[in-house]
């Protein structure tokens, strides 16, 4: 009984005539055709041709150029630097920024790119997020015309790598307590302090650093090689291993006053960057989740135990159905958020809700998918453990799950539970 159901639902096993009868029956019963397991809700149809082209392009790129090498980089703890010119060539760096050598694409297109990159690895998506949303975005949004001209075109080409320094050893979730200082001295600022957990720090040519000046928190552009500015990479990470994470040290680091971002003051500066990047994460997490779900589904259909595919056991099906359901929900959340953003209607609270939900569910999916693969699930042979470990960082950075809970909580109750 159960066996026949499985047969009917999996078309590869049926013959062509059966397929035909099945379709015919479906029409007779006025059912739409069975949706594919990887697009259960026809979300594909909600995308424009152009959006699909963006998605498919990045998807092809990830399949052909990233997947073959990413496991080795994860294992070795190295960032696949050779991919930098390639993602630049694709135009992914700052793709949602207008002008200055950037493609000026929609928020949805940017989100789809993040989704596909993170299908490959959260480390690669982080690289692109940091470059585009955390380094190029503040320059384009708050920079002077000279700063934009000077940096953005080269950053889009991947010739200049950027990083974003907000977090400090003693100040993570509450950046308002930051200790890094910028003191005005004639035509210069002098920076002192340490930034911690900075993605791309060790390979960055340009650091966007947030520091307290006399008039409040300000953003500064610090070039590699400036005396008093050094970086050291964080080693022994068990997550985002294919991404560089570093400390930035500033010791009486003198930079020209015109390296300050003129058009923003206060926490609004870094927070609006985070809002951009979190938006990308809300999409990206779905890519990681899809990779895990896909691997688990494949495995469940081919692995037999007790004389049948493990996908035929109710417990395994429950896991797969959970994954599929959460993926569909998360994708709809991201897409609607993108549509709102493209209309200029997205509120940061909505970004928090989507980042929180999608990363959290991606992590659950990764863990469940891992269990479906049994022992194989813990190896690098399959993408799941890698994604699972990566997602722990994604869960924490750009506002922890807790912090986003408090943001949404405050929005719906009107009560501040932060402090």
């Amino acid at each position: 009984m159960a066996d026949t159901t499985i047969e009917a639902a999996s078309s590869p096993a049926t013959t062509q005539t059966d397929d035909h009868n099945q379709q015919h029956q479906q029409r007779a019963h006025r059912h739409a055709p069975l949706p594919p397991a990887l697009d259960l809700y026809g979300i594909d149809n909600l995308l424009s041709d152009e959006e699909r082209l963006v998605r498919d392009t990045v998807r092809d790129f990830v399949r052909e150029r990233v997947l073959p090498i990413i496991g080795e980089h994860f294992e070795a703890g190295t960032f696949p630097k050779a991919l930098i010119p390639e993602v630049a060539q694709l135009g992914l760096l700052g793709m949602h920024i207008q002008g200055y050598g950037c493609a000026g694409m929609s928020a949805v297109a940017y989100g789809l790119a993040c989704q596909e990159l993170e299908y490959g690895d959260s480390g690669l998506r982080s690289f692109v997020s940091v470059q585009g949303s955390l380094a190029m975005f503040p320059i384009s949004a708050f920079g002077s015309e000279e700063q934009k001209q000077r940096w953005l075109p080269r950053m889009a080409k991947g010739e200049v790598i950027g990083c974003f320094g907000l977090t400090e050893p003693d100040h993570g979730s509450d950046p308002s307590g930051m200790e890094t200082r910028a003191r005005r001295d004639g035509d210069s600022y002098i920076l002192n302090g340490t930034k911690m957990w900075i993605t791309n720090g060790g390979i960055a040519d340009l650091a966007v650093v947030w520091a307290k000046a006399e008039d409040g928190i300000r953003g500064f552009l610090v070039e590699r090689g400036t005396p008093g500015f050094t970086t050291s990479d964080v080693h022994h990470k068990l997550s985002l291993r294919a991404s560089i994470t570093s400390e930035l040290h500033f010791e009486d680091c003198r930079i020209p006053a015109e390296n300050m971002l003129p058009n923003v003051r206060g926490l609004r500066g870094p927070l609006s960057c985070l809002d951009e990047a979190r938006y990308g994460i809300a999409w990206g997490a779905n890519g990681a989740a899809r990779a895990c779900y896909e691997a688990a589904l494949d495995y469940a259909k081919s692995r037999t135990q007790f004389d049948r595919p493990i996908g035929g056991f109710q417990l395994t099906q429950q896991k797969l159905v959970n994954m599929a359901t959460e993926l569909v929900k998360a994708q709809l959340l991201a897409l609607q958020l993108g549509r709102l953003k493209d209309q200029g209607m997205a509120h940061p609270v909505q970004v928090s809700l989507a980042k929180r939900n999608n990363v959290r569910e991606a992590l659950h999916t990764a863990r469940e998918a891992r269990s479906v693969l049994g022992a194989n699930g813990v190896t690098l042979e399959y993408p799941i453990s890698r994604h699972m470990n990566n997602l722990e960082s994604v869960y924490t950075y750009e506002g922890t799950d807790d912090i986003h809970t408090l943001i949404v909580g405050q929005a719906i109750t009107g009560l501040n539970a932060f402090s």
Partner: protein, 312 residues
Amino acid sequence: MLMMSIGQFDVKPAKAGFVAKCSEALRRGLSRPPSSSATHPTLSTNHNLEENPVKIVVCMKETPSTTVEKSFGPDMRIERRKEDAVINPFDEYTIEEGLRQQEKHAGSEVIALCMGPATATDNIRRALAMGADRGVLVTDPALAGSDAIGTARVLAAALKQIGFDLALFGSAAADAYGGVVPSAVAEFLGMPLLSFAGKLDIDGSTARIERQAEVGYQVAEASMPALVSVVKSINEPRYPSMKGIMQAKKKPIDTLTLANLGLDADTVGAAGAREEALSAEKVTAQRKGEIYMGNEGAADRIVAFLVEQKVL
């Protein structure tokens, strides 16, 4: 019947003399007067080449993605779903080669030509996002069920109408693997085909290719206008870029019907097809393994096996 014709079309020697055969109408369609480059046909250097614009038409077919399971309708035609339609993987090399020639020869134009369903504009758009300047889609309900010769008839007519110096093709399409179309188009147009190019150079009014052979390679050349089919080793196709995708939105795609091409519906499509698919069977992949045991001679046999498989 079709398979045999590959040879017939293909062995046609590509000679400069063939250019004389091309019709006046075709000449008029060219993007530039063909005379200018004739002044230095043998002496031209790379430097000169750069000022030698060419009008290149890249022919691209829409095929079902190689990753989806293919099924056949009752008429024994492959069932095509829009969602699964991709640019024939062989034609990505065609498009790329067109773009590379354009980069070498400033002022050149690359036109993507596709015969297919109305929805094929999506994939033409992809070619435009890769960098082609404009697209031409030949679409008509009567075209459904065209065989290789019917397809070639249509492409030849469209090429004639568009006009070109160089028409590029892939060496086959990933759905049918006939590989006949380029030679058939050449026959319809009475033009030379330089087939299976692993390298293409344009030198004045001459197109020259290298064709990989078992030992070394053959060099073939023809006066333009000419047709060239390319093999996968010729280049590494690019991905469309985000900027390219944005620009592609503004690039034109013209649509042509049979009437526009002056073709009779019963010479093409299912009506005109001389090719008929009788049956289709699923290929079941069989894993064939040989296990060599023991120390004695195992290594030699493995090496011999690898040599036989041309791995070594």
